[in-house]
Symmetry: C2
Subunit: 372 residues, 2 copies
């Protein structure tokens, strides 16, 4: 089986492709829903499959702390534990650990941190991150990286970037299961174009099967993120998949695809769903608003998902106001369907050489407020 | 279409039957899951149907307060609002209002109470309860009744019983949509056998299409509840369905069926599910317990439900510990499947004249602790 990625069509910098993994093929560009704690919140694996989700992401940091690798090893790996038998990507825990702020201490060998659950002390090294992901058995794994906050100084960003590069090398050297698990690189370098280019080149020399872009979508304006991407993405190898981490709004997915990105993940669609915010072609509906109480139309009249075929805005608003689990389920289902369907449309536009028109029509309709 | 109930088989006092409603037929004895706020917590209507649920219950009190009858009227009734197109029973709100304690005041004309949501003042009379349920459009409706707590004095219980009888008469006089909605009586009388018998006789004289038993399962020992039932249930008409309100444990369902009860409802299976307690043939599994962390067997190895076919105790325990919605979903699905399947087996045992053996085998296996 093994791992490969093949370009199937191009339009400008945008491309479609087929990502082969030991657990099936994923059409790219693709959005990966996030299953932080071995579950995409409020969804079953069957529902994800019914929507057309190709690959999901889970979090090494969270699973290492709870339920712990021993439980997942006993279950026969993360796929069997959570009953998701399709392709699965795990991040290294770098982003989570460095988000802990005062609760972690970084040294060259690795990072010591305290659990957000019980305050207990733990140590992650690049080798441990690979080891843990080996036990999880994910199809694509990530090296431990040093993520800096936004904004960060040039010196701090550069220091973390070089550490991330050294850690990527150590991860690659330690990684054994190359046929079963593809280890991607993570490009760091903050908002500094020259650091992004340097980091890309250093990692490209090591020849990874895929290149992730970390340290973006960390609070900077979207326009700045797009400018940073413009500075280096075209230098990445044409024949390797590119994964922009932490992106989950339709507009940013589209802008990423336009710049040649193939994979995305984000908690955005599931998190805003639980706050009663629904994704539609025009942007977002805040279903809590009183104006929807008597609204007997579906979330998105143009949507063909289970939720839009069966439930009204007024009913879903009631569920959300009453804090009912079904409210979380219905909005989550719709949002994930919306993004998955959006990516299907994006792929079709590239394949049919209509991406320019698709892009323009999207922006004529879309008004991104209020995203958060 | 209209409403009817036909006995299809008997074994001792137990009986099977077919309850016809304008929205389909329900095989009895049946357990009705509770959808307090126009949703059976954590479940979709499709999932309820897939399990074999025949009829569900919803709460007039809760729906009247939120989203309000105007919203549900606008949606075309409760069935369309919540996307449940099968038979639906609503209670009158009596139990909820009288559970408010200091927040309500009863007079002969009706009861004034304050909303548990925002403290606003409302008034319910027997006529208003029928009116509201007319707007909801449920297939079986309940008259407003005066429920006393446990324990209650003879005088207090008798007073409330006579008021409930007078209110039942007023409800019947006010009720117009007799072809579309069946109005059941509710027998009160607390733990006093003579009051139960008096109440039954008074209500039977008015000739209702079904008889509910209220004011039990309010904190009294189960053995006392069974003794109260023994005092009057056999005096109820043989050809009318009997509905024991607020019962949802397998043992009490079985004891009720044995005494000739046909319908039951309770939040028990869904409420304990959200606390991580699962129903099995032996009683209950407290899935939060550490002992289940490494348990890779299904909740109930003998169960053929979706959850038991796909998920382990260890995984579900993890979801519950991590407070994941999917944990609530899986335990709720299993518990409702368990009770629905249990009632299927009960009906089969009666039809096949094996109810005695079924009853004995149940009690050889069942250990009801820890129920709560």
């Amino acid at each position: 089986m093994g791992f490969s990625w093949t370009v199937t069509s191009r339009f400008g910098h945008a491309r479609t492709g087929e990502l082969q993994t030991p657990r099936g093929t994923v059409e790219t560009p693709a959005f990966m829903p996030v299953g932080t704690q071995a579950t995409v919140k409020a969804m079953t694996p069957e529902e994800l499959r019914s929507i057309g989700v190709g690959m999901i992401l889970s979090n090494t940091y969270h699973l290492y702390l709870r339920p712990g690798t021993e439980v997942i090893a006993r279950a026969g790996g993360l796929h069997r534990f959570m009953n998701w038998h399709g392709p699965l990507l795990t991040d290294s825990g770098g982003f989570q650990v460095f988000s802990l702020g005062e609760m972690r201490k970084v040294e060259e060998n690795g990072v010591t941190f305290r659990s957000h659950i019980d305050g207990s002390t733990h140590f992650f090294s690049p080798e441990i991150a690979v080891e843990v992901q080996g036990i999880l058995g994910s199809d694509i794994i990530m090296p431990l990286d040093h993520v800096v906050p936004y904004p960060a100084s040039y010196a701090e960003t550069e220091d973390a970037m070089w550490r991330s590069i050294r850690w990527a090398r150590r991860s690659m050297d330690y990684h054994q299961k190359r046929e079963e698990q593809a280890l991607f690189a993570i490009i760091q370098g903050g908002m500094f174009n020259d650091l992004r280019r340097t980091c890309s080149r250093e990692l490209m020399e090591m020849d990874f099967p895929g290149y992730a872009i970390g340290g973006l979508s960390v609070g900077e304006p979207k326009t700045l993120m797009y400018r940073v991407l413009d500075a280096f993405v075209q230098e990445l190898p044409e024949d390797k998949p590119r994964y922009l981490m932490g992106i989950g709004s339709a507009d940013a997915l589209l802008e990423g695809v336009k710049r040649g990105i193939d994979l995305f993940d984000c908690v955005l669609p599931t998190r805003i769903a639980r706050n009663g915010k629904a994704m539609v072609g025009e942007g977002y509906l805040v279903l809590r608003n009183a104006g929807f109480a008597h609204d007997m139309s579906p979330i998105d009249p143009g949507c063909s998902c289970y939720v839009c075929q069966n439930y009204t805005r007024g009913y879903i608003r009631h569920l959300i106001k009453a804090n009912e689990i079904l409210g979380h389920r219905l909005t989550t289902f719709h949002n994930l369907y919306f993004l998955t369907d959006f990516m299907r449309a994006v792929r079709r536009a590239i394949q049919e050489e209509k991406f320019d028109a698709f892009y323009q029509q999207f922006w004529e309709r879309f008004d991104g407020s209020p995203e958060e």
